[in-house]
């Protein structure tokens, strides 16, 4: 195994480095943040609840309106529990769903914590030349966690809500819903991919400004003709 501190200059397309040091640091932070997030789970979930409600409200079909979104537990698993009600008469695949029909769906709160763990671990493991850059990374990581909360749990909740209607009225067309397909994508590795991509975007954004600054400085130093 090569010495990680003496990684060779990038060859071809290998410019995104994952030397052993970054990988091991990522694994270390992953375990540490997973434990911390577990104990701070209530606090994190409370902070993200309005964001999840906002996302779920935007994804539910128009006649469905959110009655409540709260914490609950199913078989000792902490979950987000969404209750929705049909607010106006709803024509769903040739079936009329009466006003007042209600439903209840849940998603594990751990799914939201995944993003905190993956984004936090990648951002903390990434080499940073100074504290200012590190602070930017952590600040933007918080934004990335909010973005992930706006995507993941709302898609799952809305998909489950829609799946209830499909299963009842048109089980054969279950796969035709993009929401249900998206939820399946998230459950089959998409959740981890989403966290990794958001963290990568954060790192890319923080890495970008100094380059622009350097170019500006270089332009200023150039003598005027």
């Amino acid at each position: 195994m090569g010495n990680p501190s003496a990684v060779a200059a990038p060859r071809g397309l290998n410019r995104w480095p994952l030397p052993a040091r970054v990988g091991i640091a990522f694994a270390f932070w992953l375990v540490v943040i997973a434990i911390v997030a577990l104990f701070a789970g209530d606090l994190l979930s409370t902070a993200l609840l309005p964001v999840i409600k906002l996302g779920a409200g935007g994804l539910l079909a128009q006649p469905l309106s959110i009655e409540s979104l709260r914490f609950s537990s199913v078989q000792d698993v902490p979950v987000f529990e969404l209750r929705a009600v049909v607010a106006t008469p709803w024509e769903f695949l040739n079936h009329t769903i009466p006003v007042g029909s209600n439903l209840q769906v849940t998603v594990p709160r751990a799914h939201t914590l995944y993003h905190v763990v993956v984004i936090g671990a990648l951002v903390l493991a990434w080499p940073s030349p100074n504290l200012r850059r590190r602070a930017w990374l952590l600040g933007l990581a918080c934004v990335a966690v909010v973005v992930s909360a706006l995507i993941d749990a709302p898609i799952n909740l809305a998909a489950q809500a829609h799946a209830l209607f499909y299963e009842r009225f048109a089980p054969a067309e279950l796969d035709s819903s993009w929401l249900i397909r998206s939820a399946r994508f998230l459950d089959h590795g998409g959740r981890l991919l989403l966290g990794a991509l958001l963290a990568t975007a954060v790192i890319a954004i923080v890495a970008a400004p100094p380059r622009r600054k350097r170019r500006r400085k270089a332009r200023r130093r150039r003598p005027a003709r």
Partner: protein, 177 residues
């Protein structure tokens, strides 16, 4: 926190091609294996690649409990553990395969890494199932916590270490004879 001590700039924005290639390949693999051919691949992954090998492992470790495979369920005198769709660990194979394929190594290096990677994910997945079996048997109250939260994250941590060690090896200059 780690500090930058590598000769190539890890923060080079031009280098994020790997991340986007990784995402693209993962999406393609998932589209093919989970969505397009899911009816064939998922039962294979659950029954042949997960439940049946784990029964062999459990039978070796706990022969008195007489574990046996019942379709998608591991059954024994003490435990009944059903492997649902999405719980069989296909995503870990896909994530590692996408990372290896996205990395600019030679095809020979990639194929060797894929073969070794599949074996490693298989072994880790069997360890996960073994752990879950023991937890269901002896510490049932912790099952959901480990199954939903810790096991997937620990598997990701292990895979990232495996991949980064391989990537470092690929990037290292060959030693002079």
């Amino acid at each position: 926190m780690s500090t930058a001590n590598v000769t190539q700039s890890p923060n080079s924005p031009s280098g994020f091609g790997f991340a986007w290639r990784f995402a693209g390949i993962f999406l393609l693999l998932q589209l093919l294996i989970v969505f397009q051919f899911g009816d064939v691949t998922q039962p294979f992954m659950i029954e042949r690649a997960t439940v049946q090998p784990s029964v062999v492992l459990l039978d070796t470790l706990f022969p008195a409990e007489k574990p046996f495979a019942d379709g998608d369920t591991v059954r024994s005198k003490a435990v009944s553990l059903k492997v649902l769709r999405g719980c069989e660990g296909t995503e870990f194979y896909l994530l590692l395969a996408a990372a290896i394929l996205a990395f600019a190594a030679s095809w020979r290096q990639k194929l060797l890494a894929l073969a070794a990677g599949i074996a490693i994910v298989f072994a880790l997945n069997q360890l996960r199932l073994l752990g879950l079996y023991v937890i269901v048997r002896d510490f049932r109250e912790y099952f959901q916590l480990v199954h939903v939260y810790f096991a997937p994250l620990l598997l990701v941590a292990a895979l990232v270490i495996v991949f980064s060690l391989w990537a470092t090896r690929v990037l290292s200059p060959p030693r002079a004879a």
